[in-house]
């Protein structure tokens, strides 16, 4: 069967030859080049906009908020973010004006002749400033959203505890840094607006465009071009860029291309939410958790955007993959005058994972236990209850992943060996290298949180062409992770035809149904399942047709041939042609339905938060140079339970790539801010891991099949992003005896932490 095989990537040829068309590779007739003019202040009002009278503006298309024919907002959860600021400015880089010209050079030149004056107000720039409330910038308390998850009796739990351990952990912004910058082309005409560009979610763009231009579903057409990475960064922000390009195109009545350069992309688009997470944990002497109080505060930035759902995922994952009967988790998201934070692989989970895993390290150290033992004694197993009261009934690979990572990395022996080596190194004063080995254990709920999938009812279709080829109709996008390949594998396996006989329609809202966004580790598990059901439906239609046609009761489809009682009746193509001749088309759509027994209470935040979880364990080995305080990650051994790997190489590619992105999060990536503006908005000074920073990664794929995923598959996209940063910090703790509670673990931060520990 083709599922589980490493077939060649469906669009691989185009990508390897340079033939794949990314948005910036497309040039249209009469196309103009657009540019966004942005706020230079963090908070205030626009006083005046001056167009240099000495400059020839006749060649420039200019659009501001007054040119918007419909509503001035980018539709998302709250619709509070304007497409173009009218007067009030809430963050640096907020879009104010749009201009377009015949060439990139000309539009850049024109931008230099626009002067905007502001009346500045004191901005709120940090979580602390937002909470203190000296300036109110949102509602009455600067809070975008808050959640409470409570179960059992926390006070009673603390009374039963032998020890109460507290910790505060801080996590930073992180830039997605897809290598292809954001970009869109808008094409006006015939009462329609067509968008082509780099995106994860064509139907998000579609939804956003309609109210801005007062257009109907059919009048907005959104087509995804080959997309050079997303990681969440191309989830919601592309709606803004598409609408900007469309507004210029609408005004100019010509196609407009709007491509960000790297500096603009880093400065203006969304980041991972930074946060402060406090733990107060009641434990027994043997390490068992008896009470857990967790307080999460995330910085949402200037507009609501996706913050409530990031916060909710963070809150639900905050206790980690551990059992505790008495819990209280409070989660708040604040408004600040910084560019809105948004989706980034992991979506709230990497933040809380760093915190709960550091807390486990702290508990182990304070109780004098091995950190592995503390994880094991608290680990969620099949039949256990999660923080939201969900009983885990299927596909729980917790023990398997932890055991696999521990055994494969030789964790126990290596910890002993490293301790001896470090002791020897301390005796020889010339030896300034120390090693450390640390582990992390984590889980990730796949699909939308709570009742999201039940409400969305994602749709996908499969049709059989007159040539007898299967074609998949889905809005799930290929962003490098392998959507096209695994969907074709799923359909080939379901229909019993070869991989080469399946093709996939381009994500184009005029041709494919709304499968929901390509986010939340939902593409394989949720949309892949719907695609599988659609294939099953189309196959059954055809089987019924053939059975009737030949008067044969038991017809099977095997390798493209219809067989009854061991006899070949006809080929798939032949029957498809006959069916299409009679019925017009051979196509079936399916919708997602939650597995039986899944219940979620939005009011109390209790119940089945996700249909299933994926599980992971990382062991990181590091070397620290005590002269330079540089941390080198030598190796990460990671075991991840993904249900079933439809394509093992692609699954491993997700795990390795996500793990390295998390190495960046833990060690390197740090934004530098000055009065609400990112100062290091360049690849020269915002550092992501290069091949020389990349450790050896040994990946162990664990397959605990999920009965409601396609061929047993669960989510894999985000899980690997959760584990590496805490594993590295645990390894640094092992090497130095100092638990660093804030990432990234830069040499500067490590120096300060070590000197503080030594009492200097």
């Amino acid at each position: 069967m083709v599922v589980g095989q490493n077939v060649l990537r469906q669009e691989g040829y185009e990508k390897l030859t340079g033939a794949a068309r990314y948005v910036d590779d497309i040039v249209l007739d009469r196309m103009l080049y657009g540019k966004t003019i942005r706020s230079q202040i963090a908070r205030g009002r626009i006083k005046s906009i001056t167009f240099d009278p000495a400059y020839d503006w006749s060649r420039i298309v200019i659009a501001d908020h007054r040119d918007i024919p419909g509503q001035n907002y980018v539709a998302l959860i709250e619709n509070d973010q304007p497409l173009l600021a009218a007067s009030e400015i809430r963050h640096c880089e907020e879009p104010i004006l749009l201009i377009a010209a015949e060439s990139k050079a000309e539009v850049e030149e024109a931008a230099r002749h626009i002067r905007i004056e502001y009346e500045e107000l004191p901005p709120v720039l940090t979580i602390e400033e937002a909470l203190c409330g000296a300036q109110i910038i949102y509602g009455t308390d600067n809070l975008f959203k808050q959640f409470l998850i409570a179960r059992g009796d926390v006070e009673e739990g603390f009374r039963q505890a032998d020890r109460i351990i507290e910790g505060e952990y801080r996590v930073p912004h992180q830039e997605q840094l897809y290598i292809e910058p954001q970009g869109m082309i808008a094409i006006p005409g015939d009462g329609k607006m067509t968008i082509m560009g780099s995106m994860q979610c064509p139907y998000y763009v579609h939804k956003a465009l309609k109210p801005i231009f007062n257009l109907s579903d059919e009048q907005v057409i959104v087509i995804q071009t080959t997309t050079g990475g997303g990681f969440g960064g191309k989830e919601e922000y592309p709606s803004m860029i598409a609408a900007h390009a469309a507004l210029l195109a609408y005004k100019a009545r010509r196609p407009v291309k709007l491509i960000y350069d790297r500096a603009e992309d880093i400065a203006a688009t969304t980041k991972r939410h930074p946060g402060i997470i406090r733990h107060r944990t009641g434990v027994r002497r043997d390490g068992r958790l008896v009470a857990s109080e967790i307080e999460i505060v995330l910085d949402g930035g200037a507009y609501v955007t996706l913050t409530p759902v990031v916060l909710s995922r963070g809150a639900i994952h905050a206790l980690g993959p551990y059992r505790c009967d008495n819990i209280r988790i409070t989660a708040r998201a604040v408004a600040t005058n910084t560019p809105p934070n948004g989706a980034f692989r992991g979506f709230g989970a990497p933040q809380v994972t760093f915190a709960y895993e550091m807390q486990m390290e702290k508990i182990a150290a304070e109780l004098g236990l091995d950190p592995l033992q503390v994880r094991r004694i608290n680990m969620l197993r099949e039949g256990d209850i999660t923080a939201t009261g969900q009983r885990l009934v299927w596909s729980v690979g917790s023990e398997e992943v932890l055991n696999a990572a521990v055994e494969r990395s030789d964790y126990l022996n290596k910890r002993r060996l490293i301790a001896a080596q470090n002791e020897e190194a301390s005796r020889q004063r010339s030896q300034q290298k120390r090693r450390g080995l640390g582990l992390s254990f984590f889980f990730h709920g796949a699909g939308f949180t709570g009742s999201g999938e039940a409400k969305m009812k994602a749709q996908a279709g499969v049709e059989i062409t007159p040539e007898g080829r299967a074609r998949i109709l889905s809005a799930a996008t290929e962003i490098g992770q392998g959507t096209r390949t695994i969907f074709c594998q799923i359909v080939a396996a379901e229909l019993g035809v070869s991989f080469d006989e399946v093709e996939i329609e381009e994500p184009d809202t005029s041709r494919v149904p709304d499968s929901g966004p390509t986010v939340a580790s939902r593409t394989c598990m949720i949309v892949g399942r719907v695609v599988q059901l659609a294939a099953r439906e189309v196959k059954e239609k055809l089987l019924r047709f053939v059975a009737e046609r030949y008067g044969a009761p038991e017809v099977k489809l095997l390798e493209g041939e219809f067989i009854a009682a061991g006899r070949r009746l006809a080929g798939l193509g032949e029957m498809a042609r006959e069916y299409i001749a009679q019925h017009g088309e051979l196509r079936a759509y399916a919708r997602y339905a939650s597995p039986p027994g899944i219940e979620w209470d939005e009011e109390t935040y209790a119940g089945d938060a996700y249909p299933v979880y994926s599980w992971g364990a990382d062991v990181a080995e590091v070397e620290i140079d005590l002269d330079t305080y540089e941390v080198t990650v030598l190796k990460i051994t990671t075991a991840q339970d993904v249900g079933r790997a439809i394509h093992p190489i692609l699954a491993a590619g997700q795990i390795e790539g996500g793990t390295l992105q998390a190495v960046g999060y833990g060690l390197l990536e740090e934004l530098v801010w000055d009065r609400g503006r990112i100062v290091n908005n360049r690849l020269t000074n915002y550092l992501i891991p290069t091949s020389l920073d990349a450790p050896e990664i040994e990946t162990i794929i664990v397959e605990k099949e999920y009965p409601y995923g396609p061929f047993g598959a669960k989510g894999v996209g985000e899980l690997p992003m959760d584990g590496a940063a805490p594993a590295i910090a645990a390894a640094v703790f092992n090497a130095t005896g100092v638990l660093v509670t804030e990432i990234p673990l830069t040499p500067e931060r490590l120096l300060v932490a070590l000197e503080k520990a030594e009492g200097r």
Binding site: I479, I649, G658, S691
Partner: protein, 152 residues
């Protein structure tokens, strides 16, 4: 200014301002869009091409500097619709995900294998250190280059 050079074995003559970036000349004047722009300041390597056998970031090279040079871009690798061994290895090993770094990565790898047909993994890492990839964790790219070398 009139400038002539060879691109992928073909003589090309163009009229361009001398300081126009080689990247823009390739992408705009010659419509060779396989070469990508990721940062515009020589950090990401997505625009890597070979000039006279050396890997350069074409976003940092003014076109006046390539007068009379041989330039190689990703478009030259496949012949008659058939992938070359390096591309084939990337395809089989999972060395390309989103694909945006792939053309530059292939050029860096090609230059390495031309100079050192059987590199170690460390030498491969060194050779692609100027080419950023955000998808793969580099593991499968290194695997692919190793596989191509072993088949050569």
């Amino acid at each position: 200014m009139k400038i002539s050079f060879q691109v992928n074995g073909q003589l090309r003559e163009i009229e361009a301002p001398p300081m126009k970036r080689l990247l823009d000349v390739l992408r705009e004047d010659l419509r060779l869009t396989g070469t990508k722009e990721g940062c515009g300041e020589g950090e990401c390597g997505a625009c890597s091409v070979m000039v006279a056998g050396e890997v350069v970031n074409s976003c940092l090279v003014p076109v006046c500097q390539v007068q009379g040079c041989q330039i190689l871009t990703v478009e030259a690798l496949a012949r008659d619709g058939r992938l070359d061994p390096l591309q084939q290895a990337f395809l089989e090993c999972g060395g390309a995900q989103c694909g945006i770094c792939t053309p530059g990565m292939l050029i860096a790898a090609r230059a390495l294998l031309d100079a050192n047909p059987h590199p170690t993994r460390e030498e491969i890492k060194e050779a692609i250190a100027g080419n950023l990839c955000r998808c793969t964790g580099y593991i499968k790219i290194i695997d692919a280059i190793e596989q191509a070398a072993s088949r050569a």
